[in-house]
Amino acid sequence: MTLSTSGGKADYQGRLIALMAAALACLFVLSLFIGSNPIPVLTAALDAAGDTQSVIALILTEVRLPRALIALVAGATLGVCGASMQGLLQNPLASPGLVGSASGAALGASLALYSGVAASFWLALPAGGMIGSLLATLLVYTLAGRAAGTATLILAGVAVNSIALSLISLLINLAPSPYAVREIVLWMLGSLANHSMGDFWILLPGSLLGWMLLAGTGRSLDALTLGEETAHTLGVNLDRLRWRIFFAVALAVGSAVSITGAIGFIGLVTPHLLRPLVGFQPGRLLPVSALGGAILLLCADIGVRLFPAGTEIKVGVLTSLVGAPFFLFLIVKSRRWQI
């Protein structure tokens, strides 16, 4: 690799990020224009900016804006966490949804919620999600072992996901709130509807912390592609890297899931779609996956709002509908490699 090509690469990476950021900005604005009722968004924006109190301004700032912001942050979290886990575990099927981080977070958050702890202080709900996420991820990692093959990792993930989901069902059946019963769908599939700016502020700190922790791992992940031994000689402390990524994923995914529920497949699909664009380098994949995850989730959320079903479908239904066939495609592809 010569200096000039590496300079070209940085240039290319910069252009790619700028392009994706522009696409993301367009989708974000578009998402503000789409809702169950057509409202004059520009007038609403002027009203909101000019401190004129109007219903359309309220819909824009208190209903659509938090929804778009939450989609953006949660999508970015899922994308970047998927990319870093695939890099760390050297496994194309690692992602928050598959290795238990998301279902563990859902279990932790619902435990905090239905036990009444979440009502005591605002951080309790995302903290429950974070702890659940960390424990579930560690459990999968321990079950599968350090140099786990794809199949072992998936099996361990399936087992932990099943345990988490059955415990959520049990919890919901025992919950004192009669409204809890139907929330199992939300914890399994995720939804971005009817959130307020308050929910966004709950989501944000953990997500930012997680992203910042992940931001510094790019070089180590790049080194890891050369093998653990080589990475070690290059000065990568693998134990520290592992803990750092697990912890970051727990912070970010725990916060996201405790607000939106477990939205499937964004974390799995995003890195795969974008890996060819960054020359298969995990380090460069991280920021691109964050943008890509946000783009995908915003697209999915716009999709469910346009979907003519009469009543609104959950965003996780759409991501799973698109993501599950992709998952099958990955399996078929990996089979071909083995043969």
């Binding site: 309220l58 009502a119 004192p176 009669p178 809890a180 929330e183 939300l186 009817n194």
Partner: protein, 299 residues
């Protein structure tokens, strides 16, 4: 001995006109006997529980369903505590040996079928979605229990209370709707709709074309601009994501800071004369002066 038996059979066979008379008298007698008020009434549904507790003499009541003891759901929880509760389990019901079982249309069908098959008398009450349904159910239950006068008194008292708080035609009708966790609301053909209208409110959910209990989208709700939101919490003091949506700041803004008024769920989980309590609470909220001063500030 055999001769006697033969004679008996002979006389039995020969007296066809006597048998016919016996049959006629049976047919005539049975309705009279059925009109005797039942003395061991078992109710297996919250709605029939409450009407039974209001209408029957205490010694007529053999058992009420366990649900009627639950104060958030049951208006009659206090007096229900005086009777043995049942769980609508078939073995338990047989042990009570009822001469009348009261149930709802939606009580478990296998239980009703088995009871009827075994020869027990089961009466099912339809659900109420308006005032006329409530009057009909009160009168019907009262007739079953042989308490027709008490039923009429209950209906008259309810109508008198409703009349007292009814709006005059000159009064403006402010707009409102019911908003429950998960965005559920009450449209046409619900007791909440009937009560809102009786108390002098416009039900915006009905105006949005919602029939029965349905979900209303948050944006649609805000665009409809209700002056007051009501809710009827099922389980106060519990927490869930659905209940958290009730604290959305936009809801507070649209009603100009007026908090969501909670009307006890026990007033209308079942149709009964307690609907008057709900209508009185809704009418009291309407007469709150803040609606008239700030009702239509924003266009």
């Amino acid at each position: 001995m055999t001769a006697q038996l033969d004679a008996g059979i002979l006389s039995y066979e020969c007296n066809a006109p006597v048998r016919f008379l016996l049959l006629i008298s049976c047919l005539l007698l049975f309705p009279v006997r059925a009109a005797d008020p039942p003395s061991r009434v078992v109710s297996i549904n919250l709605c029939s529980d409450q009407l039974l507790l209001m209408l029957a003499r205490p010694e007529q009541i053999a058992s009420v369903s366990r649900m009627s003891l639950e104060p958030n759901s049951s208006f009659m929880a206090g007096s229900a505590a005086n009777y043995p509760p049942n769980d609508a389990m078939i073995e338990q019901l047989l042990g009570l040996n009822p001469d009348l079982v009261l149930a709802s249309e939606f009580s478990p069908h296998p239980v009703i079928r088995i009871l009827r098959h075994l020869g027990y008398r089961v009466e099912t009450l339809p659900l109420s979605s308006n005032l006329e349904d409530i009057r009909r159910n009160i009168r019907h239950t009262a007739a079953l229990l042989g308490a027709g006068d008490k039923g009429e008194r209950l209906v008259a008292e309810m109508d008198r209370r409703l009349q007292r708080v009814a709006p005059t035609s000159a009064e403006a009708r402010p707009s409102a709707l019911f908003y429950q966790p998960r965005g559920y609301t009450s449209g046409l053909d619900t007791l909440q709709h009937a009560a809102l209208v009786l108390a002098g409110w416009r039900n915006l959910s009905a105006e949005q074309g919602i029939r029965g209990y349905g979900a209303i989208d948050l944006e649609t709700l805000l665009l409809a601009q209700p002056q007051q939101l009501f809710s009827s919490a099922y389980a106060p003091g519990t927490d869930s994501l659905a209940q958290r949506q009730m604290h959305h700041p936009a809801l507070n803004w649209i009603t100009q800071g007026r908090p969501i008024i909670d009307i006890p769920y026990s007033y209308w989980i079942c149709g009964g004369p307690m609907i008057a309590d709900a209508v009185e609470a809704l009418a009291k909220a309407r007469l709150d002066p803040s609606h008239h001063t700030s009702g239509n500030k924003h266009p």
